[in-house]
Point group: C2
Chain length 448, copies 2
């Protein structure tokens, strides 16, 4: 076998994706009689809920990324391979990867979801997505460069394009990034760029539905809108982006905004799995599973997290595509693997909604936990606490806490560096493993 995975007498569970679901499952399987092979295209786990802070120079990428190799030290039955997943061949029970074929006894898809451009070609080509640390870093570089360029803009039209930001999508990511940009416009940016009149900078958030934060209660929706409007963000609900050519955002009502920066947080779709029949997939490309997270079409293949469409009476269209269902599915599936090993009966998945929240700015958040709804400073404090304890790794927690405390005291972001590795990694001798190939594949997957 090319990827050099040790032969054992244990059954092999191959997990594809080291996000919230995949990483949790791999950890929960520790000590059970399985060989676990975890595959991810990155050598780190990413804490998605804080991408927007990386994009706005509030947090360092490394504070919300955790090196996967640190997690599974001293575990001989665990194998990690950093490579791209290409396709599955269910008949022969192998997957094809950038490193070659890997056979499985059980296969778990946990690759999550990627940006959905809903077929809008101009948007796919020109908007900036926010579904990875790398993309968040690229957004940071773009925003900072725009403000540099704005100083020497030749025309008012150019200046307008450089300063205006349009955020598509009224979910937590969209709300959070709009709020942060509005705060930066008030605090950091005028100090950094005294030559620019930030009164000319407009932040607009667009949501197709009637309200921001669709799944939350009306009180939270209303309050988040109020917070944003107080901070000077233009909130446009019931409006969709129809087209974007890199210079003008065109909306469903025919209006346009001149902006060089459209941030796209308007929707996701499950990562497309090659090798499975069309009937394995449901709405949004998600894999249809039974209550035990088994693919209905292939009972030795599982799906958890954003990529899975597991229905319950309360969730006939599947669960929300956020961290908690992924983590809970991973825990339930690990219990079921344990049950299988012992010949016991399996437990169907039941989602326990722990609540939801979004932060809009300093001391401004909305939260709904265990039936309680609250807003403002207390919600913001809870938001901070919940995110802090959820971050993987003690060092990252300390680092995020330190950075947040510093920013809170100084009202300053400290990471305003336009920074990229200079020299690309040398072309690899082996095919299927180059960065070029990976990013090309990723781009292809995106533009489908």
């Amino acid at each position: 076998m090319i990827p050099n995975i040790p032969e054992t007498r244990l059954k092999r569970v191959v997990i594809v994706g080291a996000g919230f679901g995949g990483l949790e499952l791999a950890q929960q399987l520790e000590g059970l009689p399985f060989q676990v092979v975890l595959i991810d295209k990155n050598n780190y786990h990413q804490f998605q809920p804080l991408f927007y802070q990386v994009a706005t120079a509030g947090l360092e990428p490394s504070s919300i990324s955790f090196p996967l190799r640190r997690v599974f030290r001293d575990n001989p039955n665990f194998v990690l391979r950093i490579t791209e997943f290409y396709e599955v061949e269910p008949e022969t029970r192998i997957i094809r990867t950038g490193l070659g074929p890997i056979s499985y006894d059980y296969l778990v898809f946990a690759m999550g979801a990627d940006t959905n451009y809903f077929g809008l070609k101009g948007v796919a080509e020109n908007a900036i997505p926010m579904k990875s640390v790398s993309e968040a870093l690229a957004l940071r570089n773009t925003l900072l460069q725009n403000f540099e360029d704005a100083i020497t803009a030749d025309t008012d039209d150019e200046l307008e394009g450089l300063l205006n930001v349009v955020v598509a999508g009224g979910g937590p990511t969209g709300v959070e990034i709009s709020g942060t940009l509005a705060e930066m416009r008030k605090t950091v940016l005028p100090k950094d760029h005294p030559e620019i009149d930030f009164g000319q900078m407009h932040v607009t958030i667009v949501e197709a539905g009637p309200n921001l934060l669709g799944p939350m209660a009306p009180a939270s929706q209303q309050k988040s809108r109020e917070f944003l409007e107080e901070m000077g963000v233009t909130v446009r609900t019931g409006t969709q982006v129809k087209d974007y050519d890199g210079r003008h955002v065109t909306f469903s009502d025919g209006t346009k905004i001149r902006s060089n920066t459209l941030i796209w947080a308007a929707g996701v779709k499950a990562i497309d799995i090659k090798g499975l029949p069309a009937e394995a997939k449901g709405r949004g490309g998600r894999l249809l599973t039974d209550p035990y997270n088994r693919l209905r079409s292939h009972p030795d293949i599982y799906a958890i997290g954003d990529i899975a469409l597991t229905t319950e009476e309360k969730y006939p269209d599947g669960h929300p595509q956020v961290a908690q269902p992924a983590i809970q599915m991973a825990r339930n599936l690990a219990r079921n693997f344990k049950a299988m090993a012992k010949g016991k009966v399996l437990k169907p998945f039941r989602y326990k909604d722990l609540g939801s929240m979004a932060t809009i700015g300093k001391n401004k958040a909305v939260a709904e936990i265990a039936g309680f709804k609250f807003q403002g400073f207390f919600a913001w404090a809870v938001w901070m606490f919940v995110h802090l304890i959820s971050i993987f790794g003690v060092r990252n927690r300390v680092s995020v806490f330190f950075t947040w405390a510093w920013s809170y005291i100084t009202s300053d972001q400290n990471l305003r560096l336009i920074l990229s590795p200079k020299k690309p990694a040398k072309p690899k001798e082996r095919t299927g493993f180059s960065f070029e190939a990976i990013s090309k594949a990723a781009r292809k997957a995106e533009s489908v």
Copy 2:
């Protein structure tokens, strides 16, 4: 004027380069009757002495980079422009930049030095330099990817190439990175990659001169060699790299080492300034100045730091190309600008050698300060302290201290992420300002 610099009645000092010299000078000129225009291609100042820790995943790039816009807030006579310097036209007193022409009354070159490949084409194409944060990050990504690839190497030859590292240059950078790699081989790497036999990884440092740390005293040279050899580094002095094709490093004695990674810290050359006559430049392309840092050929143009060749009786070939001469020249030049404004007499530059040091590993360093030479734990503690207080910005100092303390306690580097911004910044509408152009220009400058 295209770069949109305010007109004033003050004389304009244009400083090119925001390294140790340029940044210090710009700060020292605050309050004097000059308009100061600072130009750099990056929007951050870089702390060069710690690049090697970024390259070996010990420090975050942001911990040793400082956003330039934060330094000069609330100073109406200060202008910062992030752009590339193209050339100077001394007759018309303007410089050409990526943003257009900028006129000057006084011009200060403080761009430092870049990697010198000594005309070795194969080395220039295949080795990894270490003269910017971006290059250090690229080296980090390459090293980490090599260890990933090593797990699934098909042949022993391939494995050898992936594991072996050759470091060219026995100065502090070369010594420090060799020592860190040797430490990683012992601590972090075997834990992260239990599948690899790190007994097969060889770290070799090559120095053309007879000793490591050439300018230091024999006791320090000897001790640094002992430290490195104890840690398992092969030290080859009196040897030069003759060629490198990306697979084999060929030495001056005809021997070869199979290695995919040649780190090039063997020498620097001054950044080449276009528009100045050949007679303005001395050894290593450095600009010949009088004792007041004025170009001998053009008394309204100054040069400080690595790019300047300012001689003293004690330094007939110029000063060492490190931070201290640059900072001291900047301070002296600022004093002279003040003297000029008041019509007072100028002071010639006198370098005060504050000593030198290099760290080899945990509790292992050599230092020479004020005539005292010491080695081991105390030198290492002094090294840490001196570097900590030299880093620009309180937040960066706290961040580096925290990271060092954490690593010291856990014997672990925490930043082992292979990470790049995913989507390249959108092509800019304006010419001369795109990242592509900048990096192309940089690559061109490198390969000359």
